[in-house]
Amino acid sequence: MTLTNIIIALIIILLLSLVGLYVFYSRSDDEKLKMDIGGTAPRAAGGNDSSAGNGIRTRLLGLGLCIVAVVGTLVGRLWSMQLVSNDEYSEQAEQNRTRTISLVAPRGRILDRNGNELVGNRPALTVVSKPDVVENPIEVKLLANLIGMPAAAVRRKIQDQSEGAQSDRTVAQDVSRRVVAFIGEHPYLFEGVSVEERTARHYPYGQLAAHVVGYTGTVTREQLEESEKSTDQGAIVYQAGDTVGQAGVEYEYENVLQGVRGEQSVHVDANGVVSEYSTLVEPQSGSDVILTIDATVQQAAEESLGRIIENIRKKVSPRCCAGSVIAMDVTNGEILAMASAPTYSPNIFVGGISNDDWETLQSEASANPLMNRAIAGQYPSASTIKPLSAFAALDNRICDARSKFDCTGWWTGFGVASGQYCWKQSGHGEMTLESGITFSCDVVFYEIGKGFFESNNPEKFQEKLREWGLGSLTDVDLPGEGKGRVPDADWKWNYYTNAADVDRQWKGGDFTNLAIGQGDLLVTPIQMLCAYAGIATGGSQWRPHVLRSIRSRTGTGSVIDYEPQLLREVHEDPAYLSLVLRGLQGAIYEESEWIALHFNNMKERVAGKSGTGEQVGKNPTAWYIAFAPAQNPRYAVVSTIEDATWASGSALYVTRDVLGALFGEPDDALVAISDMQVAD
């Protein structure tokens, strides 16, 4: 009310009072308080006119008809609403007060082969809020103070639409009982805010096997759309805000781990307060996934990989931080350990990863810790390819077991202008194919490359490499596997489209590079591991896998075991196989006393091969692949370390430590980084 209004009102009242007083005192008693507007007052009111107007009766009847019409209209409409359309409205009333609450099913656990829980569940009290709470700054401030977060952070969380525009927003996970109690006792302060009991992933072993188990996250919009489109029977239909696997086993076995949501219908009032519970469909827990991973071996593998990388970084190569190791049962493809460095903690994804953490994981400086280098890292295989080159040479009659090679350290098979050094520039002297593998003599394999280059069908070489599985997926049951690359003439021509024609052509040098595993060749550690497993078993490569069995947590608790699958069978002459096997054992026991020192303390005989892959602008990638026992192989282990040094002895330690964990025979020989200068 403005002052002007008040003044106007007062003036009007004053004027009216004056007029009233004037009228009251200026008239005779009869005329007092009567407004004369010129009519003839009827007798009943003290006037003189006694003739009633003729029109009044008709008009009164008209008024009566109007009233009947009004009531009739209302009756008609009520008839149609309450009797004819009653079902429709009743349904709407029922819809109004019925809400379906979805009950989240606990996710299945992930266990190692001995039943140790790698990933479990724990209850987590979560504060959620309706999106419109953000419009009430006082409430946001109160909530922020209660939870102990800055108000701006709370606001950002409530505005975050990643869980769906309409859905409740997660404000804080894992809040204390005190917070829950306070919100419960002051509902009027926290309108639109509620507490939900959810389950969160729990990692009893910390970040152990992080790359294998992977991590979970809130279902993405793409996943939601995909699950809605899916027409598969029994396919999971996600809701916004669901937790789903985003990497590793969590992703690969999502449809096993994810349970079936339960539902409960409740009656609510307009504020959403539940007054009555009705029908309930119990949630079904997801199944447990039992892995082939052995937590003990895994721990040894991760500890060793981390320790060796740390040593190299301190003493030899300051940028060294990445590597991988895999241990596999060659008889069935079970992976007992798989580690990748640098690693990460899956725990930071619980309840949604913060932007800062995500950016750190993505930044160049952190060397992509989310990548599982054991299956996705692609490197030149370096000398580890030499056994396969030997098979190619033997099968295609490029040379045979008795062929002699003379290594002077400097090879000029394609003329002096394109001469190439052996890694041992002082020369190996006279070599055979077998000793070429043992001592990793490059000259032997330069000759093989040259032999293929000059043969009628040079690409038989690549064919052989592909036969052993290079350039194709091993089909391991983990997401993100790399395919690698076996280069050939066609590939080179099409790949280097910007180079001069002469540089795009396949040359003899490409073959000599390929024969020693350098140049354009790319392989993944798991590919090489499978190839060596094939050598160990005499040609059978089993599909590598991390799943051992699936155990249902509902009903009868039935168990489904993983049936090993043969990935491929390579047929090699047994004589060739034993030649290569001898060469690989020689690499362990004969190449250098110092290497032998680390394996003589093992009861089982070991066969293995090192490799040092040259990298442009970086220190080389170190490889070491070994399997044991040599005569009746059981386990194969591959290790790689990026940006290591001219010393595959570094990776050797990791491989040796994992073999030690597998056979219960730790390496007790002294490890000195200065020793690493010896090998390859």
Binding site: M1, N5, I6, A9, I12, I13, L16, G20, D30, L33, K34, M35, I37, G38, G39, T40, A41, P42, A44, A45, G46, G47, D49, S51, A52, G53, I56, R57, T58, R59, L60, L61, L63, G64, L65, I67, V68, V70, V71, T73, L74, V75, R77, L78, M81, Q82, L83, S85, N86, E88, Y89, S90, Q92, A93, N96, R97, V268, D269, A270, N271
Partner: protein, 409 residues
């Protein structure tokens, strides 16, 4: 041709008049049976009193059920309103209404003062979006004076119109009456309270029309009002032109035309009211079982949307009973108007009857989607003592007309 048509028109009119006569006879019997009645209850008009009491009882039951779930619906306060209202009605009944016929100036002044009370500093109470309220200083009692202005306006318009004794013969006289009616109407609009304003307009117009106004003038006036309303609405809804209506009023109109436009705001209220009424079915959900009202989905279930609550709890049977009682009460009032001798008495009854009819149409109609949403209470049922007292006083006027039906002035 022309002659033939004229005859046919005449026949038609004859048939129509015949029907109207029968209707009038029925109404008059309803209102006038025993006009000369004597005895202990001779001074009480039972034909209006009985349905009125039943409506109040029915409303009391509904309000009691509302008080079970709604904190705002205070049952004792409702009973208090009925008690005060009944006392006022008894006073009015005992008083000779004809006295007012000679007090038109006083009535106009009272009317104006009532309308202006909410604008007086220290008295006006405009909290929480409510307009037109007065809070008595020190006591803290709140009231809506515009409610009380309704019976005053009835008396004012009836006393002025009665002076013409059923023959408003010059346009000048007609315009004078319309002009007086505009005073309370415009004052209410400034509060602003469009709902009560419309009631005052309708009851005043009914008195003027029944008071013998030339039908041509009436039609022209209706035309002007319709055109004016269209201009006001169009101007308010057009960007750049002055907005006379408030935004919420525009919203209500938009929602009335298409309820799906805004299912959470005004459209939500309308939708919830319709669901409440429709889901009541034949016998209703029973007292205290109204999920729409009890669950809080139906807003203002004890005031503006009280009919929806009633229809949900008592179903079609209950709403028919209410409409029957209202129809009975209003038609009995018109019937009495047909029979009483005094023009002033007739017109007072016309005012009261048209007020009840319009409020019934507006309040029930808005719950079932045939009228736009306005804050008009359902007489004798809605929670609110100002309305209850004002309606009881109006009923008292009807009783007073009966009471002093025969005595010459």
């Amino acid at each position: 041709m022309a002659v033939e048509q004229g005859i046919r028109e005449g026949e038609m009119r004859g048939i129509f008049d015949g029907l109207l006569d029968k209707f009038g006879f029925a109404l008059a019997r309803m209102g006038g049976a025993g006009l000369q009645r004597k005895g202990p209850l001779g001074s009480v008009y039972l034909m209006q009193l009985i349905p009125n009491v039943l409506i109040v009882v029915f409303g009391t039951i509904v309000m009691w059920s509302a008080s079970l779930t709604m904190v705002d619906a205070s049952f004792p306060r409702h009973l208090g309103g009925i008690a005060i209202g009944f006392a006022c009605a008894a006073l009015v009944w005992a008083y000779d209404y004809r006295v007012f016929s000679g007090k038109s100036t006083l009535l106009l002044i009272i009317d104006i003062v009532l309308m202006l009370l909410p604008s007086v500093p220290g008295l006006g109470y405009n909290a929480m979006g409510m307009t037109g309220w007065v809070q008595v200083p020190l006591i803290g009692l709140r009231a809506q004076p515009s409610e009380l202005a309704k019976p005053v306006t009835i008396l004012l318009m009836a006393s002025l119109t009665a002076e013409y004794n059923g023959r408003i013969e010059t346009l000048r006289d007609y315009l004078k009456l319309c002009g007086v009616l505009c005073v309370p109407f415009v004052l209410i609009l400034t509060q602003p309270d469009l709902g009560t304003g419309l009631i005052v307009l309708v009851l005043g117009a009914s008195i003027i029309v029944c008071g013998g106004a030339n039908s041509r003038w009436v039609l022209v006036t209706v035309g002007i009002i319709v055109v004016g309303a269209i201009v006001v609405v169009a101007s308010s809804m057009t960007e750049g032109l002055p907005s006379i209506l408030k935004q919420y009023q525009i919203n209500r109109l938009v929602v009335f035309v298409d309820p799906s436009v805004d299912p959470t705001g005004n459209g939500y209220n309308l939708q919830q009211a319709k669901i409440a009424v429709g889901s009541g079915g034949l016998f209703g959900k029973g007292i205290g079982n109204a999920s729409q009202a009890g669950g809080g989905f139906l807003p203002e279930a004890h005031t503006d949307f009280v009919f929806a609550l009633l229809a949900e709890e008592f179903g079609f049977v209950g709403s028919m009973l209410l409409l029957f009682l209202f129809g009975w009460m209003i038609l009995a009032t018109v019937g009495l108007a047909l029979r009483v001798e005094s023009t002033f008495g007739k017109l007072v009854l016309v005012g009261v009857a048209s007020m009840w009819a319009f409020q019934l149409l507006q309040n029930v109609g808005m719950c079932i989607g045939i009228m736009p949403i306005t804050g008009i209470p359902l007489p004798f049922v809605s929670f609110g003592s100002s309305s209850m007292i004002s309606q009881m006083v109006s009923a008292g006027l009807v009783q007073s007309v009966w009471h002093y039906r025969t005595k010459a002035g």
